[in-house]
């Protein structure tokens, strides 16, 4: 059980446990061991149960795993449930200031009581400190039980309190208190414990939302309009922080504008206005916001205005369970708006891809002159994920798409046709307001227009335009990120298909199945519309398990609709309870299909 277990912390929200728990997770990461922490928090600010679950995996599996080996419970509210959720043979660490009620006693797990409150009351007088250090004490206790290197913890505290050095010592002291208590009272270490490795290499540990914000800075976004909503709020916040670091003029002015809009309708309207006017602009939201943006997304599709929307999905529908994860806005995003409308989707799996795809999304949106919607989710957006480090090619030039310059307009002899398919790829040329005194101005509208943007209600013109938009859609297939395919040499007839945050668990499932002798090729989707590689993968397998985190098998639906795949070929593997999908769930659903 070295470097391979799940530990869960049960806290009360609003008590400052988050930073202690992160300290714990990060220390493991620093010891070179792959780690995957997940925050399971309530839709409320203070006083309700919240959990932090850390999976440690020598093999580098970053998906969730069922079954808790060690529970650290400092929340009497949830204690009954917490006791129940420990695996037989597991450990239950709790605050033993008050004795445990017999109801909480199981014979198949080990109880380790630490009088946290008592220790805090003894050591600290300030009530806030008493609360805060309780968390650090249990981290200290774990450092001994699990063999976290104490130096690593100290180093992390030193980094955390850079500039406020006097806070380091009391924290270290609290760690020590915990460790000492363990040393005195229990036999340690536990069978499940840590050992330094070099498995992390140069990987980083960060959240998808932060990476999206950074990607927007690198991608050249200058305008961000947003409205607060969990779990997407931290995208805009991250963008602001990264901008403060990287986007200041010498006079202190900002090379960006961030507007907290009055709602999501306004946010997407601002994004469309800014993109229309030649700036790269984006918004981020979650399901309810996407629902509200439908009309504007249709306008942008049809008026051919670039726009970038990051949808950090949460459990739907309606207001949903805002603090749970899901991949259930797929159909909504793909076909947002009434009428014949389709949108480009990007499907990142980790923070690195959040960074890259956000940067790329601006290129795509401008090249295709259409909205690009990135679908991440609460799990990816708000939890820390280990992933490869970010890289940037300094020779990269933003692909601004077909935009006429003043010079080009000046030398133009034919009439400018805003909606003319000059190049046969369905993508017309556009102009930015203010470019040229007499050429290139046009009146942007949803429809009722001809190739020259002149008003018409002609049926033929309408149909021509719709057909051109379809052609553009086909062009999109050549521009969007391709899937990642992994095949076995003996060409199995079955494939696994997955995307986004289902990928971690899916890869683990693939390995488990392979160990059982079941070898499946895999494809990780990264975008919509589907590229020809997706079609090829489907064509070259007899059946494909489509793994996704929603009830209605939305990605599978999209594949049938867009690729005309025989439905019998596509077998759904689903999870839709709001928790990240696990490898076990995938394996058992696949096995039940044979």
């Amino acid at each position: 059980m070295i470097n391979d277990f799940v530990i869960r912390f049960a806290n009360v929200n609003g008590t400052g446990s988050a930073s202690a728990n992160f300290l714990f997770a990060k220390s493991i990461f620093r010891m070179g061991i792959p780690v995957s922490p997940k925050n399971i928090f309530p839709s409320n600010i203070q006083g309700l149960p919240t959990w932090y679950e850390v999976r440690v995996s020598e093999k580098g599996y970053l998906g969730r795993r069922e079954g808790i080996d060690i529970m650290v419970c400092v929340n009497p509210q949830s204690m009954m449930q917490d006791v129940k959720s420990v695996k037989p043979g597991g450990y239950f660490i709790y605050d033993s200031t008050k004795p445990l009620h017999p109801d909480f006693i199981r014979t198949d797990i080990t109880y380790l009581g630490i009088p946290l409150m008592e220790m805090c009351n003894r050591e600290y007088t300030d009530p806030r400190q008493r609360q805060l250090f309780k968390n650090i004490i249990y981290v200290g206790a774990l450092s001994c039980l699990l063999q976290i290197e104490f130096e690593v913890l100290k180093q992390l505290l030193a980094e955390q309190f850079k500039g406020k050095e006097k806070l380091v010592a009391p924290n270290v002291k609290a760690l020590q208190l915990g460790a000492d208590y363990v040393k005195e009272h229990f036999s340690w270490p536990l069978p499940m414990r840590l050992e330094r490795r070099d498995l992390v290499k140069d990987n980083i540990l960060t959240t998808g939302n932060s990476a999206c914000g950074l990607g927007a800075v690198y991608g050249g976004a200058t305008v961000c309009a947003w409205y607060p909503i969990t779990p997407s709020t931290s995208v805009a916040e991250a963008f602001e922080e990264w901008c403060e670091a990287f986007r200041k003029e010498e006079d202190g002015s900002n090379k960006y504008a961030i507007v907290q809009a009055e709602d999501e309708l306004a946010a997407i309207g601002m994004v469309i206005g800014a993109n229309w006017n030649g700036a790269r602009a984006f918004t981020s939201t979650s399901g309810p916001g996407v629902s509200l943006m439908n009309e504007f997304l249709g306008l942008a599709y049809f008026a051919e205005v670039p726009a970038v929307l990051i949808d950090v999905q949460r459990t739907g529908p309606s207001t949903g369970m805002p603090t749970r994860t899901q991949q259930s806005d797929i159909l909504e995003a793909a076909y947002a708006a009434h009428g014949d409308t389709k949108h480009v989707l990007l499907l990142p799996q980790d923070p690195k891809e959040c960074f890259e795809m956000t940067a790329d999304s601006f290129d795509l949106a401008e090249q295709l002159q259409t909205p690009v919607i990135m679908l991440t989710d609460l799990d990816l957006g708000m939890n820390d994920h280990m992933c490869e480090p970010f890289v940037w090619d300094d020779s990269r030039i933003y692909k601004r798409g077909k935009v006429y310059t003043a010079e080009q307009l000046e030398s133009m002899t034919d009439k400018f046709g805003r909606y003319l398919d000059k190049d046969g790829d369905g993508i017309p040329w556009r102009t930015i307001p203010g470019t040229h005194p007499t050429k290139g101005a046009y009146f942007t509208r949803g429809s009722s227009k001809d190739e020259y943007a002149a008003y018409t209600e002609s049926s033929e013109a309408y149909k021509r335009n719709m057909d051109r938009l379809n052609k553009k859609w086909n062009t999109a297939k050549t521009l969007v990120p391709k899937p990642f395919v992994k095949t076995w040499p003996h060409k199995p007839d079955t494939g696994l298909l997955y995307f986004g945050t289902s990928s971690h668990a899916a890869r683990e499932a693939r390995d488990i199945l392979a160990e059982k002798g079941l070898h499946y090729d895999t494809m990780r989707l990264r975008s919509f519309p589907f590229t020809k590689e997706v079609e090829e993968f489907i064509d070259s397998h007899d059946r494909i398990f489509v793994i996704e985190q929603n009830r209605d098998a939305q990605m599978r639906s999209l594949m049938m609709m867009e690729l005309n795949t025989h439905p019998a070929k596509l077998i759904s593997v689903l999870n839709y309870d709001g928790m990240p999908i696990t490898a076990d769930a995938i394996v058992s659903q696949i096995e039940s299909h044979k």
């Binding site: 950074l214 009055e262 800014a274 700036a279 970010f390 203010g434 046009y442």
Partner: protein, 350 residues
């Protein structure tokens, strides 16, 4: 409506200071009903732009949906226009303005577009003091959907079909003052004399400038009993005074205030000359403006003119501290921190 445009061009049309003729400020032919108030406002906008010597391509025209919102097609044909979605022009204008602070932004809306579906965005554009001219072509009805009462229809106003509007009107000018709009004017589409200088003043105001223009709908709301008909408005209009735009300080002969004349300094050192008809009325005092509007409303009068102006209040760019160079003109090298910085970011995440 005429549908063939006279090809004849005047050879010696007078030019403005930047060498453009009035023709250069025209748009395509209107398809509105003959006599629609909106067309007069359109003409006034074109004229004001001519007189203000703005280059047409440095103007962006944005609108929602409605007869009124169609009109940006009918002026400044060499400006980019954006006929967006119903009630959401302010957000599109906000985004556009963020992208390029150097254009002149005209937002054109209707009373349906602004006072009903667009109320939220209207309020928040004001709150942000977005630098734009916001023209409401206010006819008290939904023209394009065939004449339903709008939220600016007055209590007791009679519709063409004879029904009496039972709801209190939303008074956009008074509302804007309440919300702290920094420039609030009201006018009548039939009064070009007043409209053009107000538009010019609005264009020169740095911040949100509302122009609520009563603009009769001849097809659906010009009947006797309607309080937005030409006849009614002509009878109930009460002007607060006249406005003039004074390009240079030297033209101001006397001191700041003389008799009922008042000079308001604009952000760029130009002046507005206000000739007030009412001595007690201070257009730079929000409470005084609010109370004048409230009293007029109580009397069933339509107060026109520049009702309130407050210069110097930071616009949205000031608040956000945006760089002087338009954001849409910035290049990779100004925007992208590069790989070296990124490697430092990585280091911080290990």
């Amino acid at each position: 409506m005429t549908y063939i445009r006279p090809a004849f061009k005047h050879p010696h049309l007078p030019k403005n200071q930047i060498g453009y003729t009035a023709k250069d400020y025209e748009g395509s032919l209107s398809t509105l009903c003959a006599g629609c108030g909106h067309d007069s406002i359109t003409a006034a906008i074109a004229r004001a732009c001519f007189e203000m010597n703005v280059q047409p391509h440095k103007v962006a025209k944005l609108s929602g949906i409605g007869c009124s919102s169609k009109t940006p097609a009918y002026f400044l044909g060499n400006s980019h226009g954006f006929n967006s979605v119903h009630g959401r022009m302010p957000s599109v204008a906000t985004g556009a303005n963020m992208a390029n602070r150097d254009l002149v932004y005209f937002g054109v809306s209707g009373d349906g577009d602004s006072a009903s579906i667009g109320m939220g965005q209207f309020v928040h554009a004001i709150r942000r003091n977005l630098n734009m001219v916001y023209v409401v072509m206010n006819n008290g009805c939904y023209g394009l959907t065939k004449g339903q009462d709008s939220a600016t229809a007055d209590l007791g106003s009679k519709s063409k079909a004879g029904s009496i509007n039972p709801f209190q009107a939303i008074d956009l000018a008074s509302l804007a003052v309440e919300l702290g709009a920094t420039f609030v004017a009201q006018s009548f589409s039939g009064d070009k004399q007043q409209l053009i200088p107000l538009l010019k003043a609005a264009m020169n105001h740095k911040g949100f400038a509302l122009l609520n223009v009563i603009s009769p709908c001849v097809t659906f709301n010009n009947n006797p009993g309607s309080t937005k008909s030409y006849d009614y408005v002509r009878e109930h209009v009460e002007a607060t005074g006249t406005v003039d735009f004074v390009p240079e300080k030297s033209e101001i002969l006397h001191s700041q205030e003389e008799g009922t004349d008042k000079y308001v300094e604009m952000h760029d050192g130009t002046y507005l000359k206000l000739h007030k008809l009412d001595q007690h009325w201070d257009p730079e005092d929000r409470i005084s403006a609010a109370s004048a509007l409230q009293h007029a409303r109580a009397k069933g009068e339509i107060l026109t003119g520049l009702l309130y102006v407050h210069t110097g209040h930071p616009d949205l760019h000031d608040v956000l501290g945006t760089a002087g160079k338009p954001l849409n003109a910035m290049l990779e090298k100004e925007l992208c921190p590069g790989n070296e910085a990124l490697q430092e970011v990585n280091a911080g995440l290990r």
